[in-house]
């Protein structure tokens, strides 16, 4: 893991005070600081399918168009993050079944050559993809971007208590799915 890049992903946004024509520069700076972590976020949400870059680029173009209507420019990063999640939802709706079907195929022969820890992590990702959309988003925002419950609540338009209960259910479901998958492997 590239710890420098991970730090970029989790860093709190710098305060933004932008006037008039400077919005172009502000959006560009925001893009340079956060595009990679957001593309990685989209990559995770899409389960590795193509399109992460387009979704993030589109989100920043949307931010630029709506900049004058932002109630608080300091929330620009949250806005663009929400846009990225929306873009991922749309993309997944166009191809979700294929992912689900693929995720239930028997393990590939190449898995024999994989180190155990790598296979375990793939199992975690497979189980994550089977979770409902909201649960998946709460886990990814929390455990990849390390956002606080309040930040996740803002991004998803839900309450912080809902974030906590959703995470609790999601972790329980994930744990159960992993346990079952491992039990199946040993049968």
């Amino acid at each position: 893991m590239d710890s420098g890049l991970a730090a970029t992903a989790t860093r709190a946004p710098a305060p933004l005070v932008v006037l008039g024509a400077a919005k172009e520069a502000a959006v560009t700076v925001l893009y340079h600081e956060h595009a990679l972590s957001l593309i990685r976020l989209a990559h995770i949400m899409l389960g590795g399918r193509a399109g992460a870059e387009d979704i993030v680029h589109d989100a920043f173009c949307g931010l630029y168009r709506r900049w004058d209507h932002l109630a608080d420019p300091n929330k620009a990063l949250g806005y663009v993050r929400s846009s990225v999640l929306n873009g991922c939802r749309t993309a997944l709706r166009r191809g979700r079944l294929a992912d689900r079907v693929r995720s239930y195929q028997p393990a590939a022969a190449s898995a024999e050559a994989a180190v155990l820890s790598g296979e375990e992590r793939r199992e975690v990702v497979r189980a994550l993809r089977r979770l409902p959309e909201r649960q998946r988003e709460v886990l990814v925002l929390g455990y990849y971007l390390d956002l606080s419950d309040e930040q996740i609540a803002d991004d998803l338009g839900i309450g912080a208590s809902t974030v906590r209960s959703t995470r609790h259910r999601a972790l329980a479901a994930l744990e159960r799915a992993l346990k079952d998958a491992r039990a199946g492997d040993t049968q």
Partner: protein
Amino acid sequence: MIEDQLRDALHDLADEVPASRVPPLRLPYRPTRRSHPANGNGRRNLLSIKWLAPLAAAASVLGIAAGLAHVAGVIRSAGGPPEASTLAPMGVPPYYVALTTNGSPYAAHRYGAGIYATATGVMVASVSAPGKARTFVGVSAAANDLTFVAAAESYPPSGLPAVTFCLIRFDPASRSATVSNLPEQRVPAGASLAGFALSPNADRLAVAFEPHGGARGPTAVVRILTISTGAMRTWTSSRGSVAAATVSPPLSWADDNATLAFNWYGSRRGHPGGFVPTTGVRLLDTRRPGSDLVAASRLAVRLYHVKNHEDPSGLVPDAGLLTADGKVVVAAAWSPLDGTGGFAEFSAVTGHLIRKLGWGLPGASASTSAMAALWSSRSGRTLVVSSPPGHPGQIAIIRGTKLRLLPWPARAPFPAAAW
């Protein structure tokens, strides 16, 4: 422990994206300070608006010159191909509806809907998502080749999108299309649209979605609107979800306009990874009473080749499509034994494999996820499919041993289309 595993797995997955994958930012509008100064409070100078009017007029003239006139939600083709209906091949409907980009590089995720001639791939009419809707996200077609439905997604400034539905009526004589909202049918914000299908007689719209109703609510909802009367009927379940897809339509109708097929993914609450034997293509007789989606339907064909749920054919089928006569389920499928794939027909009565169509080696670069049955003739004898073996990324008609490739328009995202 599980949290550490999750964190490690997510960072591993994220690290698949190298820093070099960040493309340069291309903003949609770069103001020229000399002619479009900002006035310092974030609003554009009126001067820029005065410039926009003649520019817009010039653009509309160019649009007309290109053969398209925009009239209150209707785009009418002034030119176009000769009578497409005379060219429709192998009994396939002469027109289809597909999602369509507007050609702007900044609108990669915004789609209108286009009506295309099957034989030529030429767009003969198109409509935009109306009102506040940001984009169309899916399409469905009736059997009359004149009526279509598109799902439109609205994005509020914050929160989750809602999905509404629009009826599109196509007039082949004038080559124009009109769009009207179906306000009764709606997927609430925050829910996940799984799929939708317009009945063959164009009078019933079935929509499946996964609500976010919390721990005790249903996990799947199927809602059918009768368009002519406004009547709505709902089936729910908390024992799984309708498998979502656009490539393969997850819902399909028999031509009795009463039997709805849906691809079901059974699970137990709080246990999303666990399969239960209800999984597969299920048939819902909408004339019967009851509102439990699983209890009111029957399993016609097992799908998904998973442990304890083996398909007797030994194939791995994708989402299934019910033929109009209600007797056959058609699905893309492949064999895990030799890697061959194609399309398979299963009896909707016994669930057994009837025959394989267009079977072959998909090829190393072919994406099996794009291989799908998009349309079927009444008995399943003729299919319109995407990415058949040997032809990845293409649309084809398959009939017996014959395969005919169809032109695919560049502006339509592959293969979001319905015949």
